[in-house]
Symmetry: C2
Subunit: 193 residues, 2 copies
């Protein structure tokens, strides 16, 4: 069992409706020591990959991506929810549906920050139905860049995102894959890795 799985058992809370609350250490309050340990694990799992950039999506992927970037020595770009008057010029766009928020967002990345020479590591906190990741992959492809790998903190293994992404042939490294969880007993079972 790795550091993230241990932490989920200790501080994660299962809620009705397939909700796993990890807001005390991952996506509201953020434990940066834990992020460093997770980043070291990704560095190991993506050893030998030529990574030039990390791409994530606002908001809760940003912190993890920035800590991870220190181990890969690359900049981070985050896909923004489209709304800013400061974002002008040409953009890559994708439509992303949020499982948590039950809404759709147009996300954008400036064409200045991704091009065909980039080898991209995607980082995000959660993988459920895979919509956010598929949006990021679409953006990388539109740039002519290469997805070298995908690092996820918590994958909900009982939802379809992980299977879809792996079937597309990507190296997807989820540090904790929740196979089953029960909001009535609070039990969480991880997939053996």
């Amino acid at each position: 069992m790795n550091c993230l799985e241990e932490r989920i058992l200790k501080d994660g809370i299962v809620k009705e409706g397939n909700v796993l609350k990890v807001d005390s250490f991952l996506n509201h309050q953020m434990d940066i020591d834990l992020f460093n340990k997770m980043s070291k694990e990704w560095k190991k799992r993506f050893e030998g990959k030529n990574i030039t950039k990390i791409l994530t999506i606002e908001a809760s992927g940003i912190g993890i991506a920035c800590v991870a970037a220190q181990y890969f020595g690359v900049p981070v770009v985050f896909a923004k929810k489209a709304k800013s008057i400061n974002l002008e010029g040409e953009m890559y766009t994708a439509e992303v549906e949020s499982f948590t928020h039950k809404n759709k967002n147009q996300v954008i990345v400036s064409k200045k920050f991704l091009n065909e020479n980039d080898h991209v590591l995607l980082i995000d906190d959660f993988l459920a139905n895979g919509c956010a990741l598929l949006g990021l992959i679409q953006i990388v492809q539109a740039a002519g860049a290469t997805v070298e790998g995908i690092g996820i903190a918590v994958e909900k293994g009982f939802q379809s995102g992980g299977r879809i992404i792996r079937n597309l042939g990507y190296q997807l490294e989820s540090l904790a894959i929740v196979e089953e969880m029960d909001w009535q007993t609070g039990e969480i079972i991880f997939r053996e890795q």
Copy 2:
């Protein structure tokens, strides 16, 4: 001249309407080496302060705050724009008007993550009219916690936020204070620090 001022002169772009674009290194693409240098400078400026937590606001403050947290050895909490079905229970709230986006957001912090024992360092990327910071200060005060200091990357010295915050008695450390900028010539003048 510090590393951030140098970088702004090199890569910042002045646009009509008092807009300073720093999206190639600060708030869309993020240079994590630069964030580490900025964090070391804040660590020096807040030397001797007892900090227990860093508080920032989504989205572009998060990356800077997470890198800075490594120098203070504390967790980061970010104020969320209110919309999540996952955020239940009692929340501290504040209304924040965005200069960039010309809209108002309710921002929230779970009461679980701030209390009267916390000594808080506020971190954000930009300070213009001060609305975001005043919202964060309001949240810290509602928790009965103490604002120990405020670290800002870029302050627009010609807008009122910095003066308002300093007049309230807070130690505000902006790494670059833009005194004047001219979108027609591209000239940027920093306040001497």
